[in-house]
């Protein structure tokens, strides 16, 4: 059985596609200006990596926000927890944390 689809899923998929594509402008537009990163230069590191595809492993709710567990595949395999919130009518990334 799978979780029912929610509108935030499309935002998570889009952000993951932008990371795989290395589209830095789209990535920045997906995130809030002061997006929290762990490590501090996570997005810079992701920009230097090459990914072929991603897989969304899970979606977890905390209040009105959602944390997605997304794995990015390339010469390096990286798993992130990425937190989304609805701001001004749009789902935006508040935080991205590397968990493995």
């Amino acid at each position: 059985m799978k979780l029912r689809p929610l509108p935030v899923d499309a935002a998570a998929e889009a952000h993951a596609r932008h990371i795989v594509a290395g589209d830095t402008a789209a990535i920045a537009a997906d995130c809030v200006a002061e997006v929290k990163q762990a490590p501090e230069d996570l997005y810079r590191q992701l920009g230097q990596a090459r990914f072929g595809h991603y897989h969304i492993l899970g979606r977890s709710r905390i209040g009105a926000q959602f944390v997605f567990r997304i794995r990015y595949f390339g010469p390096t395999v990286v798993t992130l927890h990425q937190r989304f919130a609805m701001l001004d009518g749009q789902w935006r990334v508040l935080e991205s944390e590397r968990v493995s």
Binding site: G58, G63, H81
Partner: protein, 252 residues
């Protein structure tokens, strides 16, 4: 096989996300929410609470299972009682998975903090039963009694009766833990006191900075249940001590 597993070593399907409790509380605070959900602060209170209990039962099953294996120098009857508890907790896991579906949710919809597992890792078996069977199962008595009362209020007999069925086991687990705490520390009052100190530490931790109180079920995050704690064999002195400690916990 390794003894005394750490929380990062628990086997899980990847869609069940492990997020530290401190992080969950921070994210909730960012949204103006209390650390733990209340019926009037969280519209998905029942689903979130049911999910927390479900992953808790998984951790309890794993914890009891580890206790079957972790200790070499314990009576065989202790090992058997822990094995029986594994069986009980696996049944509870199944019940709560179905209750989760009953309230329209699924395993993995909310994070798993593993705070319960962390508290089940004492290296002395007497401390382990004090912390788990008296501390955590005592918490279960509070949480389940509250859930039963809330289910009665909303007119849901499935939740009411299923949780009542599980609560009966938790009362047995508390009594069994008290029994083994006494037996394992019969000739060692210092060891007994260390085990009780560990239990009190667990109790304080699960006061969640004031979230657990003696109060109305729909007004406090976790309502201390004098009635079910008495059934489980806690003395009035122990219950009063818990209530006093809970009210003295820092307000969040």
């Amino acid at each position: 096989m390794q003894k005394f597993l750490r929380r990062e070593q628990l086997a899980r399907e990847e869609h069940i996300m492990h997020i530290a409790p401190k992080k969950v509380f921070e994210v909730r605070a960012e949204q103006g929410l209390p650390p733990m959900a209340l019926p009037h602060t969280d519209e998905d209170f029942m689903a979130g609470r049911m999910h927390g209990i479900c992953v808790g039962e998984i951790e309890a099953m794993e914890g009891a299972g580890r206790t079957v294996f972790d200790f070499d120098d314990v009576p065989w009857e202790f090992v058997m009682d822990m094995a029986r508890q594994v069986w009980d907790e696996s049944r509870h896991t199944e019940i709560y998975e179905r209750l989760l579906q009953h309230v329209g949710s699924l395993l993995g919809e909310y994070p798993e903090t593993r705070i319960l597992w962390d508290c089940a890792c004492a290296e002395d078996p007497a401390a382990r039963v004090a912390g788990v069977n008296r501390g955590l199962e005592g918490l279960a008595c509070d949480v389940f009694a509250q859930l039963i009362n809330l289910a009665k209020k909303i007119g849901d007999p499935i939740i009411e009766r299923a949780v009542d069925y599980v609560l009966a086991d938790e009362i047995t687990h508390v009594r069994m833990g008290s029994n083994w705490l006494r037996k394992l520390t019969e000739d060692d009052p210092a060891r007994r006191q260390m085990a009780l100190d560990f239990q009190h530490h667990i109790d304080e931790l699960f006061n969640f900075g004031g979230a657990r109180q003696a109060g109305p079920d729909d007004k406090v995050s976790i309502s201390i249940s004098r009635e079910y704690r008495q059934l489980a064999g806690f003395t009035d002195e122990e219950i009063d001590r818990l209530i006093k400690a809970a009210s003295a916990s820092a307000a969040y």
